[in-house]
């Protein structure tokens, strides 16, 4: 291709140079392709291992736990795993171990809990962030959630069933009687989605127990955030009463 003809070896170095540039461009393209493969498949594989390790550790830790029922002591949250998230709409086998904190260290392992937001079951707003693409893509399909869909959180001793806001009858995510939408797309700076009452004042007393999920939007971009709001449905369900979880776990 770019080899100089024997008789014209001194004529010009341009063909060789062009060949070199071509090879470098091709190599660059292959590296980018490999990166896509890495993002879409390899990080998922690595994350699967991390999640299963975390799940084992968390359950071992829970088995040994002798804390006061109904509470997750904040002191126990040191960037580690503390809850399991179930979203039956995204698959009956959908479960992700949730870690405390939203730095890349936590988010590369699973959904992360915004520090300073409520803990599961508490009045206020439980804020969780998760990757949309790669790292197990925990929040890839959040846009498929419909009003009334259960989002179940398992802690050391309880189950909490949150339900996506909106009008269940019409499926309209924006028509919740509370005025809080079940789904919204916001700018990355819109922190009020995490307020004790979502979209309310930052320091006001909460009007209920909410759960807010955030991820990037559109996919592969960081231009906006996709946000899902849900409200606690009923009280905490003790694990001693429902060892296998509430019926909402198999609702689709």
């Amino acid at each position: 291709m770019a080899h100089a003809h024997p008789g014209h070896r001194r004529a010009s170095r341009w063909p060789a140079l062009a060949g070199l540039v071509g090879e470098l461009l091709l190599t660059g393209g292959l590296v980018v392709l490999l990166f896509v493969v890495y993002e879409l498949f390899v990080t998922d594989l690595l994350n699967e291992g991390k999640q299963s390790d975390l799940s084992q550790q968390l359950h071992a830790q829970w088995d040994e736990s002798t804390g006061t029922p109904g509470t997750t002591p904040r002191a126990d949250l040191t960037g580690g795993a503390f809850a399991v998230l179930y979203i039956p709409r995204l698959g009956l086998d959908y479960q992700r171990v949730v870690l405390d904190g939203t730095s890349e260290k936590q988010l590369s392992q699973g959904p992360g809990h915004y520090e300073g937001t409520a803990l599961p079951g508490e009045p206020g707003n439980v804020g969780l962030a998760g990757h949309r693409v790669g790292k197990g893509s925990p929040f890839l399909d959040l846009d498929q959630l419909r009003p009334g869909d259960p989002i179940v959180v398992e802690t050391v001793d309880s189950w909490f069933v949150y339900r996506v806001l909106g009008d269940v009858a019409t499926g309209d995510l924006t028509a919740d009687p509370s005025g809080i939408p079940g789904q919204q797309i916001v700018r990355p700076t819109d922190v009020q989605v995490l307020s004790p009452t979502p979209n309310g004042p930052e320091n006001a007393a909460p009007t209920g127990s909410y759960l807010t999920l955030t991820t990037c939007h559109p996919r592969f971009s960081a231009r906006q955030r996709l946000v899902i709001h849900a409200r606690l449905d009923g009280a905490a369900i003790a694990k001693t009463a429902e060892p296998d979880g509430p019926p909402a776990l198999s609702e689709r």
Binding site: E23, E104, T215
Partner: protein, 52 residues
């Protein structure tokens, strides 16, 4: 570039092919397990939080 590397590998075609394969795999492993994990946090689509 690849031609130059090929010509500088020792042995015949079989040995060169084998060494090339090892080199390609080595470069892939270096990219997947060292370079990409380092590059990745700086990319935009990893931003999933609000406010931060």
């Amino acid at each position: 570039m690849y031609g130059w590397i090929w010509r500088h590998l020792p042995g015949g075609t079989a040995s060169r092919a084998l060494i090339s394969m090892v080199l390609v795999l080595g470069v892939c492993a270096l990219l997947l397990f060292v370079v990409f994990p380092w590059v990745e946090p700086q990319l935009p689509f990893n931003a999933v939080t609000v406010g931060g």
